[in-house]
Symmetry: C2
Subunit: 87 residues, 2 copies
């Protein structure tokens, strides 16, 4: 399946979260990731995310689509993706 993941995480935990998400998905904006993922891998991504998150304060939203085809993406302004290669 194809997912878009967006998080809003306390500053202290954000570095770990970024690293975790980049292991599974493509980073497209500060706290936004997208990519093809299997249900099994998504399960482990979420399990790991919950270990990092403070669920009282932090939030993570997933949008799942059966396929990338059903989701058309449009970017306005700067494409942050370029950063990806430097980090």
């Amino acid at each position: 399946m194809y997912i878009v993941l967006v998080y809003d995480i306390g500053e202290k935990r954000v570095g770990k979260m970024l690293k975790l998400c980049r292991r599974y998905l493509n980073w497209i904006q500060n706290s936004v990731f997208e990519g093809e993922i299997t249900p099994v891998k998504l399960k482990s991504l979420l399990a790991e995310a919950k270990l990092i998150m403070d669920e009282e304060q932090d939030s993570l939203i997933l949008f799942k689509s059966r396929s990338e085809k059903w989701l058309e993406k449009e970017v306005v302004g700067k494409e942050k993706n370029e950063l990806d290669t430097f980090l």
Copy 2:
């Protein structure tokens, strides 16, 4: 159509952007919005957004889906949506 909108905007411009997006969509996380929107309204939202944005620094990403049905949402942690009623 159903859209998810995510922005990454300089601090000075973020207040205006928030106001703008809330006029058209539902606010679901710090810089994340979703909602049903017509192509015409989306066009005016984007035109207004471009007036606010510094396109060298800011970015806005849209994910468009024909219908909400094709996009399953899952929230982990705090649901920010509650805030919406206070602001």
